[in-house]
Assembly symmetry: D2
């Protein structure tokens, strides 16, 4: 399949990461994370986030999110998130099934949630009849490709602290956020008050693997058991570890994310020149949301596939990846203009 704007998980594995996989494929390694590669990859994370953290690897984003949430909730709790949150719209009922908790959603227009919305949803505290809110979960970048500023995150964190809630971040595309903000990972996660982070690998050039990072170590006490029970403990762990090691080395994560963000910016720039289409969201990271006349969408998808995000408004999501090339954008925009011309 040619390049597409379908998703950053339509792309393959970055060559540096593939190389790392080959490199560690030597001899035997203790399974389930008792190996040196895993220790080394965890060290890498500590370089970015500080030493007093706990890091665990899981297979995928759903696993990382759900197990992270499970580690700080009891089944009579609830979890506040946006109504577009991946944990809400794209992870089946994994979080309900595994944690027992309810998801409490707040409506979002830009993918973000705001402190007052959280406060509005904290109801009937200490009332046995009603689910007790325990976690706020945000996505950074959001599902709309927008990026919270460190200040926005700090403000959410303050509300969370005031109400005795934990603060979870779904960072499946966290590298894109870091590049967008031009900040270290730490500045808009740990230092901004996040407690638990799903650190994404797959969408930034890995084959598989996500990390769950606990910034308060006491929260991770049960995590090894939760992960095993949650069917997310890999046996040949070195092959997740090696990928993260490579991703976090030599700025691989940054170069990939700079590239995909840059491609999205370029794509947006081209689209803004076309009066018949309307960009709907701030292009902060690697996604462009754009309203395209419905009539031409199927033909345009033939050129390079993308998803229609909102059927009603004909809003498309164009996702750029570490392997998106300028010529793909050119071709896409050219086709778009051509199809619009025929309307």
């Amino acid at each position: 399949m040619n390049h597409s704007f379908g998703s950053d998980n339509y792309s393959g594995v970055h060559p540096k990461i593939m190389e790392a996989l080959t490199r560690v494929n030597e001899g035997h390694a203790t399974s389930y994370g008792g190996d040196e590669y895993t220790a080394k990859a965890i060290e890498k994370f500590k370089e970015y986030f500080g030493n007093d953290i706990d890091v665990f690897f899981a297979y995928n984003g759903t696993g990382a999110n759900v197990l992270g949430l499970a580690s700080v909730t009891k089944s009579f709790n609830s979890i506040i998130c946006s109504d577009l949150a991946h944990i809400h719209v794209d992870e089946s009922t994994a979080s309900e099934k595994f944690t027992g908790c309810r998801q409490i959603t707040v409506a979002t227009i830009d993918g973000k949630i705001y402190p007052h919305q959280i406060e509005d949803r904290i109801q009937r505290v200490n009332d046995q009849h009603h689910p007790q809110v325990k976690v706020v979960s945000i996505s950074q970048p959001t599902e709309y490709g927008t990026v919270y500023s460190p200040e926005e995150i700090s403000r959410i964190s303050k509300v969370a602290r005031n109400h005795n809630l934990y603060f979870h971040m779904d960072g499946s595309r966290i590298s894109n956020a870091a590049v967008s903000l031009n900040k270290n990972f730490r500045e808009f996660t740990r230092d901004a008050g996040v407690d638990i982070l799903s650190f994404g690998g797959t969408k930034n050039g890995m084959m598989f693997g996500e990390a769950i990072i606990f910034f308060r170590q006491q929260l991770s006490e049960d995590f090894p058991y939760i992960r095993k029970q949650g069917m997310q403990l890999h046996s040949k762990m070195r092959f997740i570890a090696a990928q993260f090691d490579a991703l976090l080395s030599d700025d691989c994560w940054k170069r990939n994310a700079m590239h995909s963000n840059g491609m999205a910016a370029r794509l947006a720039e081209e689209l803004r020149k076309i009066p018949q289409v309307t960009i709907t969201q701030s292009v902060d990271a690697n996604a462009v949301f754009v309203i395209i006349p419905a009539a031409i969408i199927p033909a345009l998808q033939q050129e390079q596939f993308f998803y229609v995000w909102t059927e009603k408004t004909s809003e498309a999501r164009l996702m750029c990846s570490f392997d998106t090339r300028p010529e793909y954008i050119e071709k896409f925009v050219k086709k778009l203009r051509e199809l619009l011309g025929r309307l």
Copy 2:
């Protein structure tokens, strides 16, 4: 780390499979299994098992087992297995948590369970107060490295049918069983009455990935939802598919398993010559269980690591792998003799 007899998941990825991973790392592919590689890998499975089956990929053995069991049970059911079954001793409470069902164990000496044992455990049928047995699960080869004959499996299947139970097989090392029996996969699974099979990849040279195969297609209706909810749906699915395609091509699975079984046989042969140690189980596949004087175990583990399976009796498990070489066995046996000599 040097070669070990720790586990077949201490070994890395077979070169043919690593090659396949590199080969499919080209361009974009639809995620979540909508790609051509996944279709092709499923076709491969159909060559072995027949066309009217359903095949799904998951991350690991625990996932494959638990989700397979979940697809044929309701939460008030119970599952009969051996008291050494992987689902019982090595998968935390994943099956209880995810299915709600109880595991009913039968004592085993050779890793196998027998029809009369199953019948003994089918109690209080249609009694609302008591868990209702719904599945028999066996491991092939067993956790003791023994292999059920097709006839033994058929006999279990008959009991299952008679009592309206489903028949699940944990085939995390199924290739070793096929080689041991010198049979096609189909002869001792589908044709012997198995309904659902966890087909193992990781322990026979893959990096990650297991398959769940439904031999009665009506049982798989909900599986896509169960897998997603169970956090076992991979986004970049082509990278599991490509591994299975390679494993099932050019007899890669068979050559790997013949090698590891052969190494176990050779190791057993050498150990049998040593009067101070006792092989405890029939060496049918790639594992050797052997009682070794406790005093020398730590020093021997230094040479090449292995697990003590039964502390009390000082029974060790020596697991051979596709990458075990004759010289590793020689070295190990030499060291063993040396240590025994010093006793």
Copy 3:
């Protein structure tokens, strides 16, 4: 404690029902529902709803609702209800924990949900990533004391049928609805397309006990197991059965509900004469929702307790019961006028 408008579960047990409890307290009876009293009570239900139904008794409304929902869902499903539904706001996360399903709420102003709202929430059908809607649940009367007409219910039922959803009714105050509509139970439940009904007893004069009624018998196949597992199977079942028998005999249910509805009507009538308070909902059954100046609420609660339903708007819920007497209303209204006079 004196009479209150707190809840219909603040009231005690109706004398006819207490009598029935004493009457069946003779000799031994088979436990867990195998007794003649249970059989007789089930027959009573069949007189009202037809013979081809299945009836089960449970302890309370939460149990009846959650187990009814569990009997027609799989854990990857979702359940549509109003955002005021008892299952949503007053049953903790019982339904998430026990069924695994998500609740999908629609905003309500009058306690009811409408067909177009249901259709709006049926999204991403057959998409493995997203919870699959399987049930619509309504409360009759609603939590706002309003009552659906049979036609309104039929319209919901049509939407449910069209989308292959089951239709559940929480009838914890169903007798009040029947009296309000002046209809037989059957006309606005079974005949209007409801599949599963929680038939309330406790709030209409019983000590404990609710019934779950399946209008399509194939849906109840697993119910005995689900109820036992759900910890809702009573041993001395005759004592639930006898209560239902008494409630359904000699129009006890109807007289009780006529009384409480009548008292609510009378109370509403009196309140409407007072310009400083505003009735917010149609008084169809036994509840009156009324905005009362916040300043006088504590003093008024001293007179006869009631709950503030909406803090922000100072909306109170005044719930009448089978034992509410006209003089209680008089006293309450008098006190209200007196307190308002002092403002």
Copy 4:
């Protein structure tokens, strides 16, 4: 139905308790336990067990057991109990479903479990792959009608403490145990090291209702939420409270239990005179287990019903109740002799 030896839940409600139910059926009471009757009943429990305890009421024994266990476990834990434990054989998979935990059973001949058996089952501590034992649960009296001495209980408690396990007692017939031991409740529960107690009411003359008692108050912190979520929170709580108040007043519990124990002793005495039948267990409480020739069982059950406990050995369970009268025993024994005579 005439008197039977079926179960102590075949009997009805003790007159003193029925009286109490009528007595509290006056006026309104705050629901869900916020009433004075509930406060008073809890005070009663404190008279027996000390002030620094927490007491909660639930509907039934399954609810009391499962919710008590849920309050001290995480889903990756396991629970040790006898293979005859009510939680194991008669509560469906309620505990697996609600707690996620596995039950680890030890074989029992007399209904009891012994310290060494517990130690044998504590395996693979801190191993993420294996369920982690967290609770020991015993039944007092056991399902075989035998009664642990305070010393036996203390010994179990010591093992529990040593291994950081909680100690749960299913006391569904606890009054019978107290009478059998001629001890205060406290001496063989709290003072013997029990942490959580299911205190049974229904089988000793109540209509419904069990209590969960926490002897370490920090363990009960979440219990209100767990109970609500577990569908075991009664609205008209005064009607459970009043029963317990009556049961615990004027030695009602003791007189009932003395009576049923006495009747069992008398029955056993008579049976011991009959050479063709064999009493299999120590008759410590209100149950007699006796082997009766299979051929005459159906006819004998016609006389007064009882359960066959062990089909294979033709072992019957004869359960006495607070309402068993000497003449029932006489009649039963007479019939038994008559039937034996005809053999």
